[in-house]
């Protein structure tokens, strides 16, 4: 049975449109559900005061600080490593056994369950390297975890920069590194930022690996060597242990808002950048 192309197109569009609608509906439902349950608790006071009685009452200030610090450490370590790897793979080598090994390594790393990262981080950073349960241990573990995401997305982004840009740059007397810095990276930036945002998302959202490496102390961290509890861990403990469902949803709502703000900022910066050049 062959349908005329026009009807195939309509059918395809309909099916995909419905799929999209369903997907968006589910995702929007989750956001609205969290916000609806969480927003009533949220306020400046909730955000900026210390928790009391294991989080049953009071706010989540130390948790917010812990989350930000942990994510920053993870991103600060993983971004240069990930983007550097992507640059090496696309710009500095040809397809060879080495690149295949590196890619395979990255893919495997992407598949490693967070719990294994947690165990590893606990044995290696916390115990052997004597960093203890700390933001640093947690950040390093998370950096390992988000590294493959950043490598993969940056690689795709860098690959999609047209070769002609590189040729022009070389023909104008640029070295490879200058070409990478001035032409390739700027053009690939939106894709790289997407990767980093995904990485931020994963670090903020991680629970298992964080509990084992950064611990779950509810106190305000005073240095990177202090233990800290992230918002996800806080949510998990509050919700699962049934300490306070309200504060759990409040924490989740703030998580959602935080990520929204980060994304908006990144998009704003990126759009300005793209508009300037195209």
């Amino acid at each position: 049975m062959r349908m005329p192309p026009k009807y195939t197109q309509l059918a395809a569009q309909l099916v995909m449109g419905l799929a999209t609608l369903a997907t968006l509906a589910i995702l929007v439902f989750i956001i609205l559900f969290v916000l609806e349950k969480g927003l009533p608790v949220v306020g400046l006071k909730f955000l900026l005061s210390n928790p009391q009685d294991m989080g049953k009452a009071g706010g989540i200030f130390p948790v917010v600080v812990g989350t930000i610090l942990l994510t920053l450490v993870a991103i600060a370590i993983a971004t240069p490593l990930g983007v550097g790897t992507a640059i090496y793979l696309t710009e500095y080598t040809r397809e060879s056994r080495i690149t295949r090994v590196i890619r395979f390594g990255a893919d495997c790393l992407a598949g490693i369950p967070s719990i294994i990262f947690g165990l590893f981080g606990f044995i290696f950073f916390v115990t052997i390297l004597q960093m203890g349960w700390s933001i640093l241990s947690g950040g390093l573990t998370l950096a390992f975890m988000i590294l493959p995401t950043i490598i993969r997305t940056s690689e795709e982004a860098i690959k999609s920069v047209p070769d002609s840009f590189r040729e022009v740059s070389f023909s104008l007397g640029a070295t490879r590194w200058e070409t990478v810095q001035k032409v390739v990276l700027p053009s690939a930036l939106p894709g790289i930022v997407t990767g980093v945002m995904l990485g931020v998302g994963r670090s903020i959202g991680e629970t298992a690996a964080v509990i084992f490496t950064a611990g779950s102390s509810l106190r305000m961290p005073t240095s990177l060597m202090d233990s800290a509890r992230t918002m996800s861990v806080h949510f998990y403990i509050l919700a699962r242990e049934g300490i306070s469902t309200e504060n759990a949803y409040g924490t989740a709502a703030i998580l959602v808002i935080t990520i929204l703000l980060i994304n908006l900022t990144a998009y704003g910066l990126m759009n300005r950048f793209v508009a300037k050049n195209n």
């Binding site: 349960w133 611990g215 240095s223 060597m225 699962r240 242990e241």
Partner: protein, 264 residues
Amino acid sequence: MNRRYLIGMSLMTAVLMLAGCGQKREAVIMAGSTAFQPFAEKLADQFMVQNPGINVTVQGGGSAVGIQSALSRTAQIGMADLLQLPEEAKNLTATEVARDGIAIVVNPGNKVEGLTVQQVREIFNGVINNWKQVGGDDRPITVVSREAGSGTRTSFEQIVGDISLAREALIQDSNGTIRETVANDANAIGYLSHGLINEKIKPVKLDGVECTTEEVVCGKYLLVRPVFLLTQGQPEGAVKQVIDYMLSAEGQETIKNSGLIPVK
């Protein structure tokens, strides 16, 4: 971009170095049993009000983490709530600071008020699988247990005896999740720390004895397990101060008020 990055890195290094030198307060880290963690946090807070020079941090992870971290000195005090400590822990000094009753709980909508030890055994073994067999409605039983190795589960199984858990049993990894699962499922039965009973679930009598602090202290209630603090060698210095505080009248009073059973 590179320069900014370098500056960022150097700043971070600087912060790390400061962090290394800046800590003048004596630090005590406690880690282990998730069941005892909330109580330890509360006790630590009270302790630090009286001893501002000592910083006590409490981490979870589970009893095994408590033993591991005490052995590796990642934590000065390990917390374990096992009835019998494993081989690895025999070089550690164990101090019992509290006891904990294990309550058998069902959904508040359940008619059943009490069970015998034999009935509990058969329910968890899967021999009894409908509530009508123990005087309830005609509904299947959803058994909810803890993960293998859990202090609560080990103690529960050892005291009840002869339990080979039904394959269908749902497994939850903490007291809180057992409580939530039983609260959400009308057919469920589970067991949890006596201190965590609330209005969302209903404890049942075991052989006619209610799970209350009084019954536990006078030894009538059967399901009880100890909470140990583990240290390398005899506790001394700040570590001793922390443990002594927990054993003091005030500490034990807090333990009692929080729902655990004091040892003294």
